[in-house]
Every structure is written in structure tokens, then in C-alpha cells.
Symmetry: C2
Subunit: 135 residues, 2 copies
């Protein structure tokens, strides 16, 4: 898996949008991001999507595909933008990035019957978080 270093210098729009996502306790959707940064001069969807694309590319944030939402990478050992795993609570929608050495090793080495070699994966687990299990 290709290593993506995260020490990019962010541009103004990228920084504004990253800061917002990074502070958010939950994944943010593009138009919610747009609404929240309009006071900072980012007025159009495209400005948001362009920043999001770049932030995803360099691994500062990840997209939760099943939710069309974006979360900051809080996986300290995660130097890659292309090997991601999340747990998602189906009640409260809490999303957590999973950092398991065992899991990432297993998936990075997984080979299917066709011998296709993978350069990237995304895994989303669904269930109930602790809080929601107790309710």
C-alpha cells in the first residue's frame, strides 16, 4: 500500500474546511460544511468539494461512503489514505476509525481467487455502540 505523508501545507480553503471537520464530533456532510464556512467566504459547493477531494487524497480526512460524510483521520498510526476501516452505530450514527494492526495486516495481504492485487480498501462495520446497546 502506497504511503501518503500528511505533512502537506494546506491552502486557505483546505485549512478552513479541515479545521471544521477536525473539530466535529461526528462525520460532516458536504452541504453542512458549506453552511458552516459561508461566513469565512466559501460560498459554493465546488469550493467545498475541491477541498474535500484534496484532503481525502492526502489522508487528512476520510469519506464514510455509506453516509456520504467526511471525518478527520484520528488514527495516529495511520499513514495511509487507502486502507480505512470504520465502525458505525446504526442508531446514533457515531463513527469511529478502527486502528487494528491485525485487521490492517490481514486486509493488506488478502488476495482473492483471481489473484487481483489491491492497492486500497475501505471497510465499514455496522452495529450498535455501547451506549445504544444499553438503551
Amino acid at each position: 500500500m502506497k504511503i501518503m505523508h500528511k505533512e502537506h501545507i494546506l491552502t486557505k480553503n483546505q485549512q478552513i474546511i479541515f479545521d471544521l471537520i477536525d473539530k466535529s464530533p461526528e462525520p460532516m456532510k458536504a452541504y453542512s460544511i458549506l453552511f458552516n464556512v459561508q461566513k469565512k467566504g466559501i460560498k459554493a459547493p465546488l469550493q467545498v468539494y475541491r477541498a474535500l477531494d484534496k484532503l481525502v487524497e492526502i489522508g487528512k480526512i476520510h469519506k464514510i461512503e455509506s453516509r456520504n460524510a467526511f471525518i478527520a483521520c484520528h488514527n495516529s498510526s495511520c499513514q495511509v489514505a487507502n486502507a480505512t476501516a470504520f465502525s458505525i452505530c446504526e442508531i446514533c450514527e457515531k463513527v469511529t476509525e478502527i486502528s487494528s494492526v491485525g485487521l490492517s495486516k490481514y486486509l493488506a495481504n488478502f488476495k482473492d481467487k483471481d489473484g487481483m492485487k489491491y492497492s486500497k480498501y475501505n471497510l465499514e462495520f455496522f452495529g450498535l455502540c455501547k451506549k445504544c446497546t444499553l438503551k
Copy 2:
């Protein structure tokens, strides 16, 4: 993981839409499905989405989240709609459902640090298929 039996009797719309997806060599998008079934009397997006929702629920088709597209389940040993894995070629967009006993066992038994128990997962691998590797 809850077992979803697939021996549902499909309604007219569900059958029309399943047949179309099942014959397609590649994942189909909702509005492409709509276009293709208009001659059969299905005229509105909602009719398509409702059938898709049901077909996903009963495990006859799966949604490829990263592509917003739908593929028929061709995994003969797959009796569940909630434990899915796919390989996706980033050039030709060929999608294959992975049926690996090892993989599904590993993921079904995976537990994260928080002890969250999962009821469902979706895994998407990305890379180059054999054909595209040779080009």
C-alpha cells in the same frame, strides 16, 4: 450475523428490476435502471428506489457504496445481505463479489477495542483487474 433467506416472491416491479440488474455484466446505477425499465411501465425514480431498497434488504442485490451502483448477488454461498465484500477495478470499473470463507470468518469475528459487536459489514477493495494490469 442474521441470515436472510432469498426465497422471497418478488413483486412485478421488483422482478423487472432484479432481472435487469441480474443480466447486467456490471453494476447498474439507479437512473440507468430507470431508463431501461421505462418501456415496462416503471416511470418514476421512486418506483426504482423502492424496489432497490427491498432487493437489497432481502439480499438479492447489493449496493456498491463507493459507486452508488447495484449488482446482483452471485455469491452462491452468500445467504446474508449483511456481510459483503467486493473487488473494484479502478480502470475498467469491473466489480466482483468476493466469496472467501476465510475473509468472512475473520470479519464476522472481528471485535474492536471498544467491544462493539457488529451485525453487518461492507468491504470494498480497489486495484487493477488482470486485464487492466496487462495494459
